[in-house]
Amino acid sequence: MDAGTDNVAIRVRGLVVGFGRQVVLDRLDLDVRRGEILGFVGASGSGKSVLMRTIIGLLPKRSGTIQVAGMNRDTATLEEIRAIGRHWGILFQQGALFSSLTVRQNVQFPMRENLVISQRLMDEMAMAKLEMVGLSPDDAEKFPSQLSGGMTKRVALARALALDPEILFLDEPTSGLDPISGGEFDSLIKTLQRTLGFTVFMVTHDLDSLHTVCDRIAVLADGKIVVVGPMSAVLASEHPWVKAYFRGKRTRVHAAMPN
């Protein structure tokens, strides 16, 4: 893109978000680098989804600046704000597929709205995206209500990738999937990210995802980022919540083998 020298895809500075008297994010700073997969963790209710929804503009902020793909929502024109939809793709937790459209139409929706494109090419592109996320062409005419949880996520991913976005936001991509499907989904994201070269901002709870696909991990606690860096840096952190989460009983990866 135009901001070629800038190596940061998402830049958040001094962000404050709150509801009523409650302050959820308190002067939060975060950089997401271009082309990396950033895993974002935090306790339930700590404001992970709030941060993601604020970055994509679904929630208002009290103060601070957010720059996404070179655009600052406060200074951007209406036209630029509309155009940003082409530069990011968002995978919502429940998929958020349009229930009245088929799988193919769901994937084509962003193309139809944003591109001048023939129906033939759009059909081919939809099929290509569906195959890239590991679905079969036979699934294209199904409706979202006929899909399993894993397939819903894959279709939602295909729709998020419909316009080859620069940044992909994932809200708990593996929640509701069994560990094997979750692992497959993780490696799918990794493969696609290598092929297409987009930046991934992934909100997750899944330690396996954090270990296997994330380049860097940011931990949110008390409304701030308490540690950000590769897994080794996070494991070295002395923050009590981070310790409990990454070095607690549930961390099978580093747990001793049972006798």
Binding site: A83, S99, E124, A128, E131, P137, A140, L161, L163, D164
Partner: protein, 386 residues
Amino acid sequence: MSASSETAGTRLPSLTGTLSEGRLRLIASGPWISVHAETLERQVEAVAADIAKAGKTTIDIEAVDELDTLGAWLLERTIRAGSGAGREAAFAELPQRYRGLLEEVTQVNRRPAAEVQKPNALIDALERIGRATAQFRDSAQTFLEMLGALSAAVVRVLLNPRRFRLTSAVYQLFRVGWQAVPIIVLITFLIGCIISQQGFFHFRKFGADAYVVDMLGILFLREIGVLIVAIMVAGRSGSSYTAELGSMKMREEIDALRTMGFDPVEVLVLPRVIALVIALPLLTFIGSMAALYGGGLVAWFYGDMNPSIFIARLHEAVSVTSFKVGMIKAPFMALVIGVVAASEGLKVKGSAESLGLQTTTSVVKSIFLVIVLDGLFAMFFASIGW
């Protein structure tokens, strides 16, 4: 919409070819990305004729400075068009930066999706008639099933009155009864005014002013009052029952109740239907009174009929029978509305569209059945001479 709004001034992608002795050399350059989809498609179409003629095609993509899935697929499509049947097509060189993406797209669109067969029009029409007929039977069946389940729930509750959800029923009565009063009063009042005015206007021509009161009294107490109120309640409360139960079904709340050993009909439907059965006669009474009041006001100010004369005429014209006919119908209409609303609500499937569809069906069906029921009652009361 112009795709180049933000990339104004940048280069457009291009694909140019030179054909000599059956060898085609294509040179692709510029940004091969989806914002330029329109230009790209045109460029690829333009060389299609040359590709068809060429025995050997090479594509040079060294000058392509951006590539996304759409661009990669168009290149792949060009390669596929140029190969097969003894002809060959390939990239002159595969730059490292695009290799992963181009290899990825060689995998896709290999197998066409299973063809959806288009049936012929006649069979299609017959199928639709058949389905509609079966649907009619099915909806009659669901209606009867819900009525049966409701009766069973009533019996269970009568045997063990402590099972009855009184709080829920009272709350529903508040919603469908008390909160509906203002709008019902307003609308029936206005309709009373209108019918009274029309009555005076037309009856005056042959000096039958006095009979407007007879018309108003009999019409409202016997027929229109209950019908208008029932239709309004179907639209106002029946639809909300369907939407409520439907979204509970969508969010698996109904399943949760069932697994805890509760009967959803007893817990959710029965209190709602009972609230309707109590509310509708009351609303009918209030509505009829409001209509007569409106009619009386118009008679006074527009028809120059003194209120005392209006009341005296009303007293003569209307018998208790007319009133009873109207009031007897009300609870049955309430039952029909409640049963339809509940059975449609429980038919909702996973999607938002299905919720909308069932809510519409619920309102249309209950209004239709209310009118059919009114017709049946008319025949019944005629035959017993009321």
